[in-house]
């Protein structure tokens, strides 16, 4: 019951232009976007990139609160970055609070870095919110497969990622079940000192590992009995194909990125 609800990643299954894109073009987009975000140095470029990302969020039919939610774990980092810059920039002090100097230059610099971080998260969130984990691993495999020529195990890596993602909810459910079973035997996971709690984990972890190993063995047998022998000669159900929309999306992204880079160099 509990495990069924555990959503891995943040994928929001919708049907939108962004969702239909080839995962590889979205990964490309994120990689190029990150590089651009680190290179640009002007507010104007940020505004352009920000506007572009907002447009993409709209295209993906994503509610804005989903995108904002992904920023939540970053609040502390953002606030800390801003504070450090504001208080510790050796610059002309704007206001003095005892030993704390508030610097205007630092404030700007801090806001700049915060904006950069926020945009970074928004760009990657655009990928994870519109791409299912399976598509994502397919995309990674597709991008890494040119390296196969030099013996890089691209398919095996992708398969491992897929299996890991597939079993996270299963193992969570299992952990929850075992925890309850041990609670029925009088163990208390919630109170007691540090050592007592650590020792309390053994009755949870041992059965969990036993069942994980058993599952792994079953899975291996099931895969072998269906003649799985790695990626050689394997065809796929969903072929990744670059469509016209992917070329259009990548061209538009490239255009925006180049534009913002040149804006940055011009105004800097």
């Amino acid at each position: 019951m509990f495990g069924k609800s555990v959503v891995i990643g943040q994928y929001v299954p919708l049907d939108s232009a962004m969702h239909r894109l080839d995962p590889r073009s979205k990964i490309f987009f994120v990689a190029l976007g990150i590089v651009t975000l680190f290179l640009v140095q002007s507010w104007l470029s940020f505004a352009l990139l920000g506007g572009f990302f907002v447009l993409l969020v709209l295209l993906a039919h994503l509610p804005f609160q989903y995108v904002l939610k992904s920023l939540r774990p970053l609040w502390v980092l953002l606030a800390l970055t801003l504070c450090l810059h504001v208080f510790f920039t050796p610059d002309d002090a704007l206001v003095l609070f005892g030993f704390l100097r508030v610097s205007l230059g630092g404030l700007f610099k801090g806001l700049f870095i915060v904006a950069r971080l926020v945009l970074l998260v928004v760009a990657t969130t655009l990928l994870t919110l519109t791409t299912s984990p399976i598509e994502l691993t397919d995309g990674i495999e597709g991008l890494l497969s040119p390296l196969k020529r030099w013996g890089f195990p691209a398919h095996e890596l992708a398969m491992m990622m897929t299996i890991a993602l597939r079993f996270i909810p299963t193992l969570l459910e299992e952990a929850y079940r075992i925890m309850k079973a041990q609670m029925a035997r009088g163990i208390d996971f919630e109170s007691g000192g540090f050592m007592k709690r650590i020792r309390g984990l053994i009755p949870l972890l041992v059965p969990l590992f036993v069942s994980a190993f058993r599952r792994a063995e079953d899975l291996a047998v099931a895969m072998e009995s269906r003649c799985y022998r790695g990626g050689i000669g394997r065809t796929r159900l969903r072929m990744l194909r670059f469509e016209r929309r992917d070329y259009a999306f990548l061209s538009l992204s490239l255009l925006v990125f180049v534009l913002s880079l040149s804006l940055s160099w011009l105004t800097w």
Binding site: A181, A184, R185, G186
Partner: protein, 291 residues
């Protein structure tokens, strides 16, 4: 009454888009010495209800009272409730982790603060109560036992708390026929010899017929039947309506009834034979065909 469940409702992941209401206003009482079977199709709320009986889940509405104590207590009182109501989960052997059978069975009473000779006596009693040889098995690893033995060790590891009520969620699932028969016999003995109250969750009608005297049927989180086992088995239509498939024994009785013989629902093959002898064969002339 020993356990009182009053108007209990429970929703998983309440206030999220994933909310699933598992129980809707369930009321039921269980008295000392009873043997109750909780029946119903998959997802009807059986397992959720059972986890309310020992305070693993707390009712979101209504209340559960065990031996005069509301389950919404904390600390020692909650441990007391879990000791009085021993809950055996489905596939209980999955929760085993100790190096020896003895330590496995001793785990729960140790958590309850039992030590020394009393502990050993309890482990011995619990193992023998489920038909395991204490001397031969106590130092073995629980992981090298057979499936049926593992299941019994797991049940012993709950029994060693000396619960007053033993709640079992599908105790015979995945056992071979011999293991199943042996386990059911042991459960009956536990009731007869030690006066244990037994609550059995199952959708296996044969298991229910062997163990239970009373049947509670859940359907979509509601109690739709609560009465003697024979009364429930008397009506084929009702059983099927709630997704419970009659055992072959009952099906034979229903067929005879459809032919106009007033056969009572049997719980054992012997009962069916007696019913046939009395109500079917007696009405006919002795068989003229040579056998």
């Amino acid at each position: 009454m020993f356990i009182l469940v009053e108007n209990v409702s429970f929703t998983y992941l309440a206030n999220t888009p994933f909310a699933v209401q598992a129980l809707r206003g369930v009321s039921l009482t269980i008295s000392r010495g009873e043997s109750v079977a909780i029946l119903g199709r998959t997802g009807c709320g059986k397992s959720t209800l059972v986890q309310h009986l020992n305070g693993l889940l707390m009712p979101q509405e209504g209340r559960v009272v065990v031996d005069g104590v509301d389950t919404r207590v904390r600390g020692a009182a909650l441990k007391g409730i879990r000791q009085k109501v021993g809950l055996v989960f489905q596939y209980p052997e999955d929760q085993m982790f100790e190096e020896t059978v003895f330590r496995e069975v001793a785990f729960a009473p140790r958590n309850m603060g039992v030590e020394g000779e009393e502990l050993e006596a309890r482990v011995r009693w619990a193992m023998e109560a489920v038909g395991l040889n204490y001397e031969a098995l106590k130092d073995k690893s629980p992981f090298e036992l057979s499936g049926g033995q593992m299941r019994r060790v797991a049940i012993a590891s709950i029994l060693s708390m000396k619960p007053e009520v033993l709640v079992l969620d599908e105790p015979t699932a995945g056992l071979d026929p011999q293991g199943r028969t042996a386990l059911l016999e042991r459960l009956q003995d536990l009731r007869r010899q030690w006066g244990l109250t037994v609550v059995l969750v199952s959708h296996n009608v044969e298991d229910v017929a062997r163990i239970a005297e009373r049947v509670v049927v859940l359907e979509r989180g509601r109690v739709v039947f609560d009465g003697p086992v024979r009364e429930f088995f008397a009506c084929e239509h009702r059983m099927r309506q709630y997704g419970i498939i009659p055992s072959p024994l009952l099906q034979a009785a229903f067929l005879l009834r459809a032919r106009g013989f007033e056969v009572d629902p049997p719980l054992t093959p012997l009962e069916l034979y007696r019913e046939i002898e009395e109500k079917v064969l007696a009405r006919r002339k002795p068989c003229s065909v040579k056998v």
